[in-house]
Amino acid sequence: MPETFIPSGTTDVADLVKWAAAETRPLSLHGHRSKAGLGRPAQTEYALDMSRLSGILDYEPAELVLTLRPGTLVSDVEKLLGARNQMLAFEPPDYGPLWGGAAARGTIGGAIGCNLAGPRRFKAGALRDHLLGFIAVSGRGEIFKAGAKVVKNVTGYDLPKLVCGAYGTLAALTEVTLKVLPAPEKTRTVLVFGLDDARAIQALAAAAASPHEVAGLAHLPAAVAALSGVAYVARAGTGVTAVRIEGTDISVKARCEALRDLLGSFGAPLEELHSMNSAWLWREIRDAAAFALPQDRLLWRLSTAPLSGPTVTAVIAQAQPEARFFYDWAGGLVWLSLPPADDAHAALVRGAIAGNGGGHATLIRADLATRAAVPVFQPQPEALAALSRRVKDSFDPMNILNPGRMAPSAGT
C-alpha cells in the first residue's frame, strides 16, 4: 500500500506536489476509490487522498452555478440540488458496484476525472459540457485556475474540457464550478416490446429525429431485460426498447401520446412507465446495473455512431456467443459483458468498431493482469498519441500525477 497524504486545502496539495515533483515521487490521486478498478494499474510509492477537500462553497440556483470542493459526494450534491428542483443534467452514473464497491461513494472529482455521463448524454451533454471552471494544482506544483463561474465564457483556452476524462493525470482539482439546470417536473417512459436490436435502434432513431424532445433512448435485449428490477421489463420475455420523456405535466402527457403513435408504427406492443418504475429503469441503465454481477466477467464500454451499435454487437456475438450487451444513447453507447480472457477479446471488440463506422472502446472491468496487458483505453494513431503526451507534459513534466493510469508512461 502506498503511503497516503490527506491534504485539506489547495496549498497543502501544492506543497505536496511540489515536493513530489522535486523528488520525482509519483502520486496516485483518489477520493473514496469507488472507481479504482478503472484504468491501467499503476503502482506508486505515495498517494494523495483528496476526499477531505469536500463541501459546497457557493450555490446560486438562479444563476445556474454551483461551486464546490471536488471531494464532495455526487449523492450529496444531488440531494442539495433536488431540494431546489435542480439537477446535474449529465446524470452522473454510480459505477462503484461494478467492481463490488458500495453504492453512492463517488465524488464530483472522480466524476470529472472519468467524464461521467448517463442516459441524458445525447441531449444534455457529458460532464465536460457542465464544468465551467476550476482551481487546481498542476504536476509542477503550481496553483492555477481556468474557466470561470458564469455559464457563458470563451476567455482563454477551455482547460475545463481537458481535465474531464483525464483521470487525474493533468492536475489535482481543488475547487470546481458546475453548471446546474432545472429538474424536470415530470418523467415518463414509453416501452416497446419484442423488437430485434436493429429494428429497436431504428425505432430509437425515429424517436430521436422527432420533435418530441426525448431525454433517454435505450434498448435492452431479452437476456438483459430479464435482469431488470422493474417487473414490466423483467417479465416481458422479449427485448425492451425504452424512450424517456421529461418536462411539464401537460407537455409530457401530450408528447407520450405522440410518441406512442410514432412507435406504434413498428407494430409491436407498447407500455408506459410512470414515476418510480421509470426512475428505477433509467438508474439501472445509467449504472450498467445488469452487469454488476458476476464480477469475473469482462466489461467493455463502447462508443459508436448510434446506428452502428447493433452491427458492432452482431460481429462480436458471432465470435463470442456468450456476449451480453445493451444499448444506451440511441445505440451509440454499448455496454458489453464477455467471459474472461487474457486478451479481453480486445482485437475482436476494437476491430468490430473500426470496421463499422469507428468509435472507441474502454475496458471497464478486468483483473489486474489483463488491464496491465491490454490497453484499457483505445490506442491512438501515432501523431495523436504524441500530441497527447505533449499535452500531458505541459501540465506534468515530471510525470507525477497518476502516471500510467491512461497510457503507459514513457520508457516503461
Binding site: 515536493w19 438562479a62 476567455t155 477551455d158 422527432s210 408528447r255 483505445q378 507534459d393 505541459s394
Partner: protein, 495 residues
Amino acid sequence: MLMPAPEQDIIAQRLDLIAALRALVPGEGVIADETSLRAFECDGLTAYRQLPLVAVLPSTVQQVSDVMKLCNSRGVKIVPRGAGTSLSGGALPLADGVLLGLGKFNRVLDIDWDNRCAVVQPGVTNLGITRAVEHRGFYYAPDPSSQIACTIGGNVAENSGGVHCLKYGLTTNNILGVEMVLMNGDIIRLGGKHLDAEGYDLMGIICGSEGLLGVITEVTVRILPKPTTQRAVLAGFPTSESAGDCVAKIIAAGIIPGGMEMMDRPAIHAAEDFVHAGYPRDVEALLIIELDGPPAEVDDLLLRVRAIADACGAVNCRVSQNEDERLNFWAGRKAAFPAVGRISPDYLCMDGTIPRKALPLVLTRMGQLSEKHGLRVANVFHAGDGNLHPLILYDANNPGELERAEEFGADILRLCVEVGGVLTGEHGVGVEKRDLMPAMFTEADLAQQMRVKCAFDPNHRLNPGKVFPVLHRCAELGRMHVHKGQLAFPDLPRF
C-alpha cells in the same frame, strides 16, 4: 494595439516564399498583389488593419499540411481565416505572416440522417449547414448573429454562441468531430460520429482556441430536429432591475427559454427608429422571451412566463400570435447593431459575461463610465446567460475618440471581471481583449495556457499576437525551478 514586431528577415524572403508557396498551391491559390491582399487586411474588428505578407487559399487538406510544414520549417507565421467576421481581431493579418484562407473548403461532405450529424468542410457557413438539412426538419443549433456569413471553421475556432445557447449550448456542445492540421503538418482526427473522446478531450480545447493550436479542415456537427413551435413574449419594464428580476424568476421557476434577450432604453429607441417593430419607447428595459418545443409545452410555459412578467411589473406585455408577429418581435433585436450604426458613425461592440444578479449594479456603473469618458452606450444583453453586449458609440473622425472608446470598453470589461464575470462570453479575446487578460488571469494561469499552446505549436508560429499579452518562449515556460533535496517532506496528515 501593439502587434509582435515584424521579423525583417522573413519579410526579406517574401519573393522566395511566394515561389515556394506557388509550388505547393498552384494558380490563383497564392495571392501576392497589394490590391487583392486588401480584401484580407481586417476582419469584423475594422479598427485594426494590416496587409498580410501573402495570402494562400489552399483547396485540399494536403495543401494545408504542405503550406504549414513549409512555414514551420522556415519559421514563418500563419494567420488562419474563415469568413473574417471575428469581432475581436482573431483573423487580423501579420506583416510578416502568411494569411491562410479556408474559403475554398465550402462543401457539405455527408449528411447522415440516421446518426443525426453532418460532415462539412470548414468554409461552409453556419446558416449553410441549416439550409442543407432543413428540408428534412433538422437544423444546426448555434446561431451567432453573423450566421449568414461566418463559417463553421471560424465557429469552432471561436466557440461561437448565439441567442439560443442557454438551452442548446455553444459550438463546443454541438460538434462531434474535427480533422485538423498541426503547425508541423501533422493531420489528426478527433472524435467522429460517436460521443466523447477516447483519450484527452483535445476537441474541447481546440474549440475556442482562436486559431492558435491548429487549422480545422473538417467538422462533424450534430443536427437537431427543429422545434415544432416557437412563440415569443415581448415585455417592457419600468426599470432594468425589474426586468432582471423577471429573468431570475423565470429560471428559478425551472424554465429555460430558447432565447431570452434584454435591451436597454438607448438600444430600444435605436432599434425602433430603424425597423419599427412596435417596441414601447417609454420603458427602461425590454425583454424578448422565446419558448420553443412541442406545442403543449410552449402553451403551458407561455402562461407561466406571462404571469411571472406581470408579477415583476411588466408593461406592454405581448405574446406572439403568429409567426409574423414572432419574427417582428425579433426584428428589432436582430437589427440592433446596424440600428446603432445609424445613430453613430462608429461603434465598438463589447462582450463581457456577468452573474445576472449583478446587472443593475453593472448598468449603473456603466452609466457613470459613460459620463466619465463622454461617450454614449447602448446595451443588448443575452439575459439568460448573463452575456452583455454594450455598444460604445464614437466617431473615428474625431481625433482621440477611438482611444477613448477603447478605454471605456476596457473599463467595462474590468467591471465585468470585478463583479465575478469574464472578459468575453462569445466573441473571443483576439487582439481586442488580449492586454486585458491579466485582469482575469494570474501569471500562473496564463503560463499553463501557454504551455498547452507549446504542446501544439512550440515555436509560436500559429496566429501569434492574439489571446496572450506576452508570449513566452516554450523552453522558458517548461523550465522547472526546483531541485532534489530543497523541499521539505510535506507536513500533512497521512496514513
